[in-house]
């Protein structure tokens, strides 16, 4: 499998805090990577750096061998790197369907059209198909502000997925979701991710979730990589267990 995304010696500091310290990572096509680590270890900063929201102090980010280090979030997204957010970023005054239609119009590069309606028959069908994949069979006309947190999380990912990215970065897709719903949400997301073959990188605090869905686990600690391996190897690592799970402390 070819490398789709690569960071080369990426560093970023916020004052005295090193949120990313010389990170060199490669992500293969179709891989599902889980990122774990305690609060403040640089997980979200890593996602923000890759998606152009935060610029690294040093280092380069390569997407299919193209340097994207200085690109803006919009330009990074248009190249094929989409993301979801820890706090879902949605258009809460609009319906689920309208959120999806806007995403599709942007994906079609027709978002500047001002004469033809947004609700074209073909586009509505496509939107309903994507929503159906993510379990919104009956709720398309529901206003987003009325969705439960789990629904918002899934829709946030669905909007990013609708952009047909090569790399999908998910920032804590199950945070704020009830324990009962957590695996249901992840099952839905990962089923679609696996079917599409997209490279997925998800930040997560729940080790059970990471162990169940990730092909590879990265453990962040103070901006560096403490471990990078298959889930079973990572979670058997005493240093990881001490640092992330607090065992033996």
């Amino acid at each position: 499998m070819g490398v789709v995304l690569e960071t080369v010696a990426v560093s970023r500091s916020f004052g005295a805090v090193k949120a990313a310290d010389n990170l060199s990572l490669r992500f293969a096509e179709g891989q599902v990577v889980g990122i774990v680590g305690p609060n403040g270890s640089g997980k979200t900063t890593f996602v923000n750096i890759v998606t152009g929201y935060v610029k690294p102090t040093h280092g380069r980010i390569l997407f299919r061998d193209r340097d994207i280090t200085r690109l803006r979030p919009r330009e990074v997204t248009n190249l094929g790197i989409a993301r979801s957010f820890q706090i879902p970023q949605l258009y809460t005054h609009l319906t689920v369907l309208e959120n999806m239609l806007i995403a599709l119009s942007v994906q079609e590069r027709r978002h500047w059209e001002f004469w033809r309606p947004l609700r074209l028959d073909g586009r509505v069908e496509a939107a309903l198909r994507v929503l159906d994949q993510f379990g919104f069979q009956d709720g398309a006309d529901q206003r987003v502000s009325t969705l439960p947190e789990g629904g918002r999380k899934v829709l946030d990912v669905a909007l990013s997925f609708a952009l047909q990215p090569s790399v999908l970065l998910l920032d804590e897709p199950t945070s704020g979701v009830s324990v009962d719903d957590k695996f249901g949400v992840m099952d839905t997301l990962m089923r679609v991710v696996k079917e599409s073959g997209v490279t997925a990188v998800f930040v997560e605090h729940d080790m059970d979730v990471v162990a169940r869905y990730a092909d590879r686990v990265l453990v962040f600690a103070e901006g560096t990589i403490l471990a990078d391996d298959r889930p079973e190897a990572v979670f058997a690592n005493p240093a990881v267990r001490a640092h992330v799970l607090g065992e033996g402390v």
Binding site: R74, T92, W112, W115, L159
Partner: protein, 339 residues
């Protein structure tokens, strides 16, 4: 501004629209001339307000739309003063729209970078620059004396003096219908929805791969064009223009009318404008020295009882179904968007 944002972009059924349009066409010859004039001005100004409302949908309050109002009017006035060989109203209106759009293309480059109070204040600043120029360049603009705008024909027709007011009314009505339709198409389009998306969440718009600044800029162009159209139509209808058209109080009046009418429909600015002109007319008649007090009171009453503007009253009436028992607030939320 969040509370004032419309809960939909509703239009009444096509049948009601045609009935309303038919009444506006058929009744005009039988109503007093002052009323025809008042409606003509209300529609012309309503177009400027429509431009303001298009920006309000993206949570942008323009306190400087007098800029385009005056630009459209002065484009027509200065063209006539310069000896434009064709003195047709349609040509002058076209000129007003072109000039105001070109101006919006320049000003929009700056304004599209700002939000909130900065957007509002910068828009005032630009309109006051034009106001000062119109005031000081006496040799060109006539200063406070202003300019006379006398057209000789409307679409090639030369109505007699007794029919001029009526002809102007139909001319303005026709262009208003066209402009409202364009605005309606915009609001139902991807670009129109992008403005609503910007209102909600700019971050998500950028992370979808769309440029927030470009979306605002393009909408601003149309908004400026509508301002110029309204200005040119007012100039032709009134027959005289003065620098006051660009003054900040005039721009504030457009925002006032936008709030009065609401943002729930492309027709709301026209409703707000007609009501505003009527209230101002009668307030001035009843109390020439304190008419602003009456206007302010009307807005207070509207904000208290119809915070979504006058149009929201129609929305509520249209959505009330016989026998429904759900609390009013719940009903409103459940049925608030056009499907």
């Amino acid at each position: 501004m969040k509370l004032l944002y419309g809960r939909g972009w509703l239009l009444p059924g096509r049948g009601w629209l045609l009935v309303g349009l038919f009444l506006l066409i058929a009744v005009a010859p039988f109503i007093p001339g002052w009323l025809v004039f008042l409606l003509t001005i209300a529609f012309a100004k309503g177009l400027v307000v429509l431009g303001v409302v298009l920006l309000l949908r993206g949570d942008l309050v323009s306190f400087g739309h007098g800029l385009y109002y005056a630009a459209g009017a002065y484009a027509a006035g200065l063209a006539l003063r310069a000896g434009l060989p064709v003195r047709d109203a349609a040509v002058l209106v076209l000129l007003g729209v072109v000039v105001s759009t070109a101006l919006a293309a320049i000003v929009g480059l700056f304004l599209a970078r700002y939000r909130g109070i900065f957007f509002g204040m910068l828009s005032v600043a630009f309109s006051m620059i034009l106001y000062s120029l119109l005031l000081k360049l006496y040799w060109l603009t006539g200063g406070t004396d202003g300019l006379s705008v006398r057209v000789s024909s409307i679409f090639g027709l030369q109505p007699g003096a007794e029919y001029l007011r009526l002809a102007q009314y139909y001319f303005v009505l026709a262009l208003t219908v066209g402009a409202v339709y364009v605005a309606y198409r915009l609001t139902a389009s991807p670009l129109g929805y992008l403005m609503r998306a910007i209102y909600d969440n700019e971050i998500r718009v950028e992370y979808m791969g769309a440029s927030v600044r470009r979306a605002i800029y393009r909408t601003y162009l149309l908004s400026g064009a509508l301002g110029g159209l309204g200005g040119a139509l007012t100039a032709i209808t009134v027959g005289h223009i003065a620098p006051d058209l660009a003054y900040w109080t005039v721009s504030g009046e457009f925002v006032f009318v936008a709030l009065l009418g609401g943002t729930g429909s492309v027709l709301a600015p026209l409703l707000g404008s007609v009501v505003f002109e009527f209230v101002r007319n009668y307030a001035f008649k009843l109390s020439p020295y304190t008419w602003q007090l009456l206007l302010g009171s009307v807005l207070l009453v509207v904000i208290l009882f119809a915070p979504g503007g006058l149009w929201s009253i129609f929305e509520r009436l249209a959505r009330r179904e016989p026998g429904e028992t759900a609390p009013r607030k719940e009903r409103r939320w459940a049925l608030s968007w056009r499907r």
